[in-house]
């Protein structure tokens, strides 16, 4: 049984800062994450045509890894972290992912030996637990996924991560219908149940292979909401609803740590500041230097408490300044250097607050994720940390309360956003305080409404 967090790792929000965590983690080739400095974590995707065979894929990763390491030493960076997010072929064929990890780690070892550069390799197998028509969280695909983790750990991956999809069959339905209780059920309840199961097994593999069970993200759900919400002028989802989904995602991501993850948390988990407040574990984040992958409305703010600083993903190809991975890894590490200078000169909190204030009032999402408010959400989660439903509900309520108590001269929201917020508050006010009641009511409702929902098969109900 996973032990749930019922208290926070930090006594005050102001204690939270970039580059430092309560519980740093150290990789094989010297890179320590959360130990007082920030490091760039470069992410990449192979060119589309590279996926046709194992040889082509391995060759692609060999080239891009060499490019990244070469640029890092050319510009004099003390460390670099690499993250390989699998294309599906690499997870479905565990030996492909294992071979890629081995080739990458070998190159990184060569650079480490020759130059002393500190480095770490994260591998993120894809969550392949789906069939054509249905989520298949438990069964043959689960076994293949675990084989993939074994293979990449054996191949040399220091940090093991994944972006799990538990609850997504309900999220996809609920998010398009402004259904806040559905978000709580999908993300906070079903997602957390799945996270608890899978992260206990990932931790076992990490321990067996001497690797680090790093962390998950609610990419499949909260990022879906964030991307659908889009920019200021997009009309696909109220940004106030997107941040409620994000707040609910924090207890879900937390469930991974409760089941054995140690950090660094995954870059696209914009909920990570909330999670770090509770766990004290290091986190990766992405923002202004991940515009190659997607736009957000809080690009500086999310640097506030990062330990690794990521570009999310970029396709491997040529740019004027070198290959794409070279260009973006260089940008990431210049950012990291700036943050580390602030730390070395005693100006870290000043820089953190400047980063936060550049985006805090840009959008409701940044406002709630600013570390002072994120800390309040964390407190609400820990208050009922033992109850998956209540802590998710608490996170949503805290999010709504934070927005409703904001200075309206600074956080200016549209009527759409405030109306959606009012509707969400009404829905939350109507929710039961009884977990069993909520779970049974939701089970009945979504079994009737969502044809692809298979609770018994996926969540062991």
């Amino acid at each position: 049984m996973a032990k749930r967090y019922t208290s926070l790792a930090y006594k005050n929000a102001d204690d939270m800062i970039f580059g430092k965590s309560v519980y740093p983690v150290k990789a094989e080739l010297g890179l320590e994450v959360g130990a007082g400095y920030v490091t760039g974590e470069v992410n990449y995707a192979p060119r589309p045509e590279a996926g046709v065979s194992k040889d082509k894929l391995v060759s692609e990763y060999r080239r891009l890894t060499t490019d990244i390491m070469a640029r890092a030493v050319q510009v004099g960076f003390p460390g670099i972290s690499l993250e390989t997010e699998h294309v599906e072929q690499m997870t479905n064929n565990p030996d492909w992912g294992g071979e890629v990890a081995h080739v990458q780690k070998t190159i990184m070892e060569e650079y480490h030996e020759e130059y002393g550069i500190k480095t770490a390799l994260r591998h993120t197998p894809g969550d392949i637990r789906e069939n054509r028509d249905l989520l298949a969280l438990i069964g043959d695909k689960y076994d293949t996924l675990m084989e993939s983790f074994e293979a990449v750990a054996e191949g040399g991956a220091d940090f093991l991560s994944i972006e799990t999809m538990g609850g997504k069959e309900i999220l996809d339905y609920a998010i398009l219908r402004n259904d806040v209780p559905g978000l709580i059920y999908a993300i906070g309840c079903l997602g957390s149940l799945d996270m608890t199961m899978i992260w206990e097994d990932i931790r076992k593999i990490a321990d067996k292979k001497g690797r680090i069970a790093a962390g998950d993200t609610d990419c499949a759900q909260a990022n879906t909401a964030m991307f659908i919400a889009g920019g200021l002028l997009d009309k696909n989802l109220a940004h106030t609803l997107a941040i409620i989904a994000r707040a609910i995602s924090a207890p879900r991501t937390l469930a991974g740590y409760e089941a054995g993850a140690q950090g660094p948390g995954k870059d696209c988990g914009y909920e990570n500041t909330i999670v770090k407040a509770i766990t004290g574990c290091p986190i990766a984040q992405e923002g202004k230097t991940s515009t190659c992958a997607h736009s957000d409305v809080m690009g500086n703010l999310v640097m506030q408490c990062c330990d690794l600083w990521s570009n999310e993903s970029v396709e491997y190809h040529g740019e004027f300044g070198g290959t794409s991975v070279q260009c973006w890894s260089e940008s990431l590490n210049y950012d990291a250097a700036m943050l580390n200078v602030a730390t070395e000169t005693g100006n870290a909190k000043m820089l953190r607050d400047i980063l936060v204030l550049s985006d805090k009032y840009r959008d409701p999402q940044g406002y709630v994720l600013a570390y002072d408010n994120a800390y309040k959400v964390a407190e609400a989660i820990a208050k009922d940390g033992d109850d998956l439903y209540l802590r998710a509900k608490n996170a949503a309520i805290a999010c709504v309360d934070i927005l409703n108590s904001a200075d309206t001269n600074k956080l200016v929201m549209s009527k759409f956003e405030t109306n959606a917020l009012a509707d969400a508050k009404a829905a939350l006010d109507a929710l039961t305080d009884e977990s069993d009641t909520f779970m049974s009511d939701s089970l009945e409702k979504y079994k009737a409404e969502v044809a692809v929902f298979r609770p018994d098969d996926n969540y062991k109900f």
Binding site: A45, P46, R47, P48, E49, A50, G51, V87, E88, Q89, E130, R132, D133, D172, I175, L176, R177, N178, T224, I228, L232, L233, K235, N236, L237, A238, E315, M350, D353, I354, L357, S358, D359, K360, Y361, R362, D363, K410, V412, M413, S414, K415, F416, E417, A420
Partner: protein, 252 residues
């Protein structure tokens, strides 16, 4: 430390917001006569029970089910999609309205109506890709606009896409993908269709898909937004060919 944000950012969405509420704007667009007015309001609110109730009353009063589809349900839904296109309402409102409208159409079919769709569109998610929320939105918006959608689902093998196009002879094929490696299947679909002599517009979009990629194959037309799907279908109905579609929808 705090800041007056007015000098460092602008919330253009607040500045541009209409003075009228969406409900007020919709009310101005409802037909004046009953039962169309009540049913249009029920569609706007996404209340399927009220839609059915309105249809039942209308049929009891002698209304023709097919006429209700053509003259009441479809125009009612158009109010919703027009307001969405104007940036007045959000996508979830459209989805809920579409659910209500489609329930209404099903009810009319049960009463004997055999509606004629504006055209047929085949939708799929690329082979190897299970991310299908984009396709779900595309299919819903197409249905809401009066198109017959053949939804092949997600992770659809190329062979299956080709077979479906041959069987259904759609006016348009859509493909969505989140990942760079899976979107490569679009090229194969394109090549196989051309080999078979089929020149159907192939709208591609989603996640990592971009215009540069889609322009690499002849049948590809880039759809940046899900809402482009019904617009592209309408353009095809209006007689636009591949070159004109690319001219209209390739914005970059």
């Amino acid at each position: 430390m705090d800041v007056d944000p007015s000098k460092i950012l602008v919330r253009y969405n607040v500045q541009k917001e209409k003075a009228q509420t969406p409900e007020e704007m919709a009310a101005e667009m409802y037909p004046s006569e009953e039962p169309a007015k009540t049913i249009a309001a029920a569609i706007f609110e996404g209340e399927e029970d009220d839609v059915i109730e309105g249809l039942e009353k209308a049929i009891e009063g002698g209304a023709d089910p097919i006429g209700l589809i053509d003259d009441v349900l479809m125009p009612g839904m158009k109010i919703v999609t027009d307001l969405y296109d104007q940036g007045v309402i959000f996508l979830p409102n459209v989805m809920m309205s579409a659910d209500a409208m489609l329930d209404g159409i099903e009810f009319c079919k049960e009463q004997g109506a055999a509606p004629k769709a504006k055209g047929k569109v085949v939708c799929h998610v690329a082979e190897g890709d299970v991310h299908d929320i984009g396709k779900t939105i595309v299919a819903a918006l197409l249905r809401a606009a009066g198109y017959d959608v053949v939804d092949l689902g997600r992770d659809v093998p190329v062979d299956e896409v080709i077979a479906a196009v041959k069987k259904e002879s759609p006016m348009m094929l859509t493909g969505t993908a989140l990942m760079t490696t899976t979107m490569y299947a679009f090229k194969e679909v394109n090549d196989r269709l051309l080999e078979s002599g089929i020149k159907v517009p192939f709208q591609c979009g989603g996640g990592a898909v971009n215009q540069d990629f889609v322009t690499q194959y002849e049948l590809g037309v880039y759809g940046e937004e899900a809402a482009d799907a019904p617009k592209m279908a309408d353009a095809i109905l209006a007689g636009k060919g591949l070159a004109q579609l690319k001219e209209s929808f390739h914005k970059h």
